[in-house]
Amino acid sequence: MSWLKWFEFRGKSIFHLSYSFHRLTGLVLVLYLLMHLSYLTSLTFGREVYEAFIATTVTPTFLIFDILLVLVGVFHGVNGLRLVLHEFGLAYDARRPILYLSYIIAFILWLYASYKLYVFVMGV
């Protein structure tokens, strides 16, 4: 018995891959949430402290991490909606096309959000 089996990919189908990535992205989002809350907490020490934090991360150097974070969030969200749909007992027989569709939707949303981020950070 081991939670490491969540990430055992050998011989597994694409459904298990989605399951594993859902768990991984969930962990990343929890870590991000902690970071995000600590940024907000810095406001209690004054506006200067918060702006110093922001000046470190909202930069072109950090843009790649932001884009990856958006990918993590979008995948987790879209895949989560797919799971909610099936867990209501709906559309089970169409689970494979729905899985592929969720990947396509996540990819399109990620591209759009990345473009918006790029424009915001680079000031294009």
Binding site: M1, S2, W3, K5, W6, E8, R10, G11, K12, S13, F15, H16, S18, Y19, L83, H86, E87, F88, G89, Y92, D93, R95
Partner: protein, 244 residues
């Protein structure tokens, strides 16, 4: 491409009660020869101590499920040449305690099966005056696919939820529960839901759906669990209002 008459290496994960190790055996592959026949060949020719389970040899008893090339399959229904590999890796099923070589502990698995009461429950059952229970073909179709389960344990072995919780009922037991809950002749749905609607029951499933992918009988246990979730949700709402 492996051809008929060619030697195939069986790489088998062994366990002697204390340590695990791998043993390699050469098996001459014949057309139509199954992995189970290969195991019997090894036992008769090389090593009589090799342990594995088998019974019907025709995909009905579910005894010979093992991991073949990283995927749980019935050894009796898997032909060596169809694997198209010169090396075949055989391991015991995951998520089960290994007793010896390919033999795993199934008592817990069967106990979970028993816990969901996989039989018809009637309020008016009378053995003295048995009554014929009529069922329409469309009522049969509702649960027909789920009645093919052979309890081989393949679904349980790939379930990530079963990997982390020993008290999780698992896909096979819940598919059996759905099979009887969906049966128009049954009147014991609420007895089963009392067991299933729990932390170790339907709510533990995270829909990896791998159970449906590996089932040798294509019975789709993941579908049964999602349908049971809906029944469980209705059961919980009704129980909250003390309607049952």
């Amino acid at each position: 491409m492996v051809k008929e008459g060619k030697d195939v290496i069986f790489r088998i994960k062994r366990f002697d009660g204390e340590k695990s190790y791998w043993s390699d055996f050469v098996v001459p592959a014949q057309k139509g020869m199954t992995v189970l026949e290969g195991l019997f060949y090894i036992k008769a020719t090389y090593d009589g101590s090799l342990s594995f389970r088998a019974s019907c040899r025709m995909g009905i008893c579910g005894s010979c499920a093992v991991k073949i090339n990283d995927r749980p399959r019935l050894a009796c229904e898997t032909q060596i040449l169809q694997l198209n590999s010169s090396k075949i890796k055989i391991e015991p099923l995951d998520n089960f305690k290994v007793l010896k070589d390919l033999v795993t502990e199934f008592e817990g698995f069967f106990a979970k099966h028993e816990a969901v009461k996989p039989y018809l429950i009637r309020k008016d059952e009378s053995y003295a005056e048995p009554v014929e229970l009529i069922q329409k073909p469309e009522e049969l179709q509702v649960y027909y696919d789920f009645s093919f389960c052979i309890k081989c344990g393949a679904c349980f072995s790939v379930c990530p939820a079963a990997a982390t919780r020993e008290d999780y009922l698992g896909p096979a037991a819940m598919a059996a529960a759905y099979r009887f809950n969906a049966d128009s002749r049954d009147e014991g749905r609420y007895f089963r839901l009392a067991t299933i609607c729990s932390d170790g029951g339907v709510w533990r499933c995270h829909f990896a759906a791998e159970c449906s992918e590996v089932c040798p009988k294509n019975i789709e246990p993941a579908k049964a669990i999602q349908k049971l979730r809906f029944q469980s949700a209705v059961y919980m709402i009704n129980r909250a209002f003390k309607r049952w």
